[in-house]
């Protein structure tokens, strides 16, 4: 079968299809399977592109870009099972909108301007502030269909919430960024949409004070949906203060009771000021926390640091010391932080610190093109990952050289 091409206008600022000699936009899984089979035969490399917002091409050129945004058939929501199957090309926001009509949602909260595809969100394992309560894609994806490196259509998992039949290959595909295959649909466990949500914001002079209050919130009889500690571009751009952003959700009765508890806790805290936000303000706060404030200058790079939760306080003070002006956001009870990295900053300092505390680190920024710089990783794990890559993509056609350790 001849490869179908379509003209495609590259979106300014995104590497997407400009990095590929040709773009195809299959509308069915079978069509995609034929395209990949042919790409294997003709030894052509493939870059998978969804919404294009988190694409990482490592400055490389590819023979073929597969645009997944036409893979939108087969959405299936079974409210009584609290599961749904979503085609990979469907926009994340559209899937959520459809699920919300039956009072359910995929409780992931990725940074999204509305154009992210569900396949892209999962392939890049994106997360946001509600990770505090709901974890990440690994906690919610129950089945996947992919086209693998031999052009075969492969299914893993089932539309059930508990399953240990065979290997859990879903886990491998999440966060694999199109290097093991092309995700064509995903099934999720769902969560009931809370009847009510409300957001509180509190401002502190120091990181230590913000963290003390976060710990008090954690110990209190509260179940926040999100609890974020942030400074700089992800809150109020020019302020030096640290902010806590807290979202409560649930039944009206529960949210009101929790709001009362939280208000009295914040009133007694060392917060300079705090408030319960209006709905509009809350939407703005969370958007800023996810995507950054539009007023700030473009960011050079970010580092996502994973760390043992007990180390939160030391990590915060260490960061303030080495880079007092840098923006940062922490999910203190998940042990993850995203930290602004400037061009001048010595990245090896961050890597050494992450290694020293027994954590992990990933850099994200268009200037950081070498996978080795982007994803420092220890050799033993890397060697196993390389074996997996060769097993599932034997001809090395899927985005070669773009992933961890140059995979």
């Amino acid at each position: 079968m001849a490869l179908e091409s379509k003209s495609h206008t590259p979106v300014v600022g995104q590497p997407s299809v400009t990095d590929a000699r040709e773009t195809v936009r299959p509308a069915t899984v079978e069509e995609l399977s034929r395209i990949i089979t042919e790409a294997v035969e003709t030894k052509r490399t493939v870059l998978t592109v969804g919404g294009g917002t988190r694409l990482f091409a490592a400055g490389k050129k590819f023979d073929l870009a597969v645009d997944t945004t036409a893979l939108t058939n087969g959405f299936r929501h079974t409210p009584a099972d609290m599961t749904a199957t979503v085609p990979a090309g469907m926009r994340f926001a559209e899937a959520q909108e459809r699920l919300s009509q039956k009072g359910q949602w995929i409780p992931l909260h990725p940074p999204d301007r509305g154009d992210s595809s569900i396949g892209g969100v999962i392939a890049a394992d994106r997360w946001g502030p509600r990770r505090h309560r709901y974890g990440t894609a690994k906690d919610w994806v129950i089945a996947t269909t992919i086209v693998n490196g031999e052009g075969n259509i492969v299914r893993a998992g089932a539309n059930v919430v508990k399953n240990v039949s065979g290997y859990d290959l879903n886990k491998l595909y999440i966060g694999s960024r199109g290097t093991l295959g092309i995700i064509t649909d995903l099934s999720f466990k769902l969560s009931p949409l809370p009847a009510m949500r409300t957001t509180f914001r509190a401002c502190f002079s120091t990181a230590g004070e913000a963290l003390t209050t976060a710990n008090e919130i954690h110990r209190a009889p509260l179940e926040p949906e999100a609890l974020l500690m942030a400074k700089g571009r992800w809150t109020a751009p020019r302020a030096k203060h640290w902010w806590l952003l807290i979202e409560l959700a649930g039944s009206e009765e529960s949210v009101k009771a929790q709001a009362k508890t939280l208000s009295s806790l914040l009133e007694k805290s060392t917060a300079n000021r705090w408030n319960e936000a209006s709905q509009d303000d809350a939407a703005f706060y969370w958007r800023t926390a996810s995507l950054g404030n539009d007023e700030t200058a473009p960011i050079f790079a970010t580092a996502e640091i994973s760390f043992p939760k007990s180390y939160t306080e030391k990590l915060v003070s260490w960061l303030v010391e080495i880079s007092p002006g840098a923006s940062a956001k922490f999910l203190p009870f998940r042990g993850v932080a995203i930290v602004e990295v400037s061009q001048e900053m010595d990245r090896s300092l961050l890597i050494d610190e992450a290694v020293r505390i027994g954590g992990g680190i990933e850099f994200d920024g268009r200037e950081i093109t070498s996978p080795h710089d982007r994803w420092p990783i220890e050799p033993a794990s890397l060697s196993i990952m390389k074996k997996l890559k060769s097993a599932l993509d034997p001809s090395d056609i899927f985005a070669p050289g773009t992933y961890v350790g140059g995979i």
């Binding site: 099972d81 609290m82 059930v160 399953n163 065979g166 886990k171 009765e253 929790q258 680190i361 074996k387």
Partner: protein, 308 residues
């Protein structure tokens, strides 16, 4: 690893770079490497919990209640269905306080913030009543709660006293299909001349049909295997899975291809070959090799015991 190398994946934190090797190893049944140490994430104890016991005249009414509870967006911490055969065994040996003369009970526990629980408790009670619950009780003390859970946890042992042998299965169906599969299990047992008891993690759609048989009787043993095979086939037909907790092992090898197509299996085998190239780690587990008829193999693996 098979070459003797000691490798550490993950750490005392949640996210790692690259492929999720921890996720891949969990549930790999010793076919990729031998796990020598694990680090687990802990969660905060819930502020409070409530435990309920609902009684029903029919298994169908109980399983319909389960489906309706989930459909209402309530996900209890535990939602267990126990049928009359199991209740009888438990009460004759343990006295957990399960009601007699009922077809099934639901043991339901919800946990979380005290401010959330009372609303949920009311909704659950209404759902059970609407489906014809003949009784709905809340455990009034920690002692009562412990007694109920003891009945649940030791039920499998109690069953050993009422049958020479039993075969506990472990299938999964989408949660809304629970009433159908439970009805099917009992019918499948009847067709094969055997009784099937139920202890289910019903809220997850995870069924544990317990097939009662006499292991010294070849005909009954064969009938037990056939009943089990039919039940698993039905789970898959309903969009479910072969196992929710216990794994494939050697027991479910013959049903593997009912759930997975050739390319699905090839993908898993490629992963196994990558990490365990000689196949020396747990050979014969998970993947059917060679001829796909293992009736005699299965028989050796089915002991008169249970694992729940």
């Amino acid at each position: 690893m098979p070459d003797g190398e000691i490798v550490k994946f993950g750490g005392r934190f949640e996210s790692t770079s690259g492929y999720d090797l921890v996720g891949l190893f969990v549930g790999s049944e010793g076919t990729l490497g031998i796990v020598t140490e694990v680090i687990v994430k802990l969660i905060k104890n819930p502020e409070s919990y409530k435990t309920f016991l609902a009684s029903f005249d029919t298994v169908e009414a109980a399983s319909n209640s389960v489906s309706s509870i989930i459909a209402a967006g309530i996900i209890p911490a535990a939602l267990e269905l126990i049928d009359a055969l199991v209740i009888e065994a438990v009460e004759s040996h343990l006295k957990a306080g399960f009601p007699q003369d009922v077809a099934a009970i639901l043991l339901i526990e919800i946990d979380g913030l005290a401010s959330t629980l009372s609303t949920q408790a009311g909704e659950i009670r209404n759902i059970c009543r609407n489906h014809g619950a003949t009784d709905f009780q809340q455990a009034r003390s920690e002692q009562e709660r412990a007694q109920l859970w003891r009945g649940r946890k030791e039920a499998i042992g109690a069953l050993g006293k009422v049958t020479p042998a039993f075969y506990t299965n472990d299938g999964v169906v989408p949660r809304s299909r629970l009433p159908e599969i439970l009805e099917f299990d009992i019918e499948a047992g009847k067709r094969n001349g055997l009784r099937v008891a139920h202890l289910c993690h019903a809220g997850d759609g995870n069924i544990h049909p317990i097939i009662l048989y006499n292991h010294e009787d070849d005909t009954e043993t064969k009938a037990a295997m056939e009943t089990s095979r039919e039940i698993l086939q039905r789970c898959i037909d309903l969009g479910g899975a072969l196992t929710g907790e216990h794994g494939i092992g050697t027991e479910k090898l013959t049903s593997f291809s009912v759930m997975f197509g050739e390319s699905d299996e090839a993908q898993m085998l490629a992963v196994r070959s990558a990490l365990n190239p000689s196949g020396k780690l747990n050979p014969g587990k998970i993947f059917p090799t060679g001829a796909r008829c293992g009736e005699s193999k299965i028989r050796q693996t089915v002991a008169g015991g249970g694992w729940l």
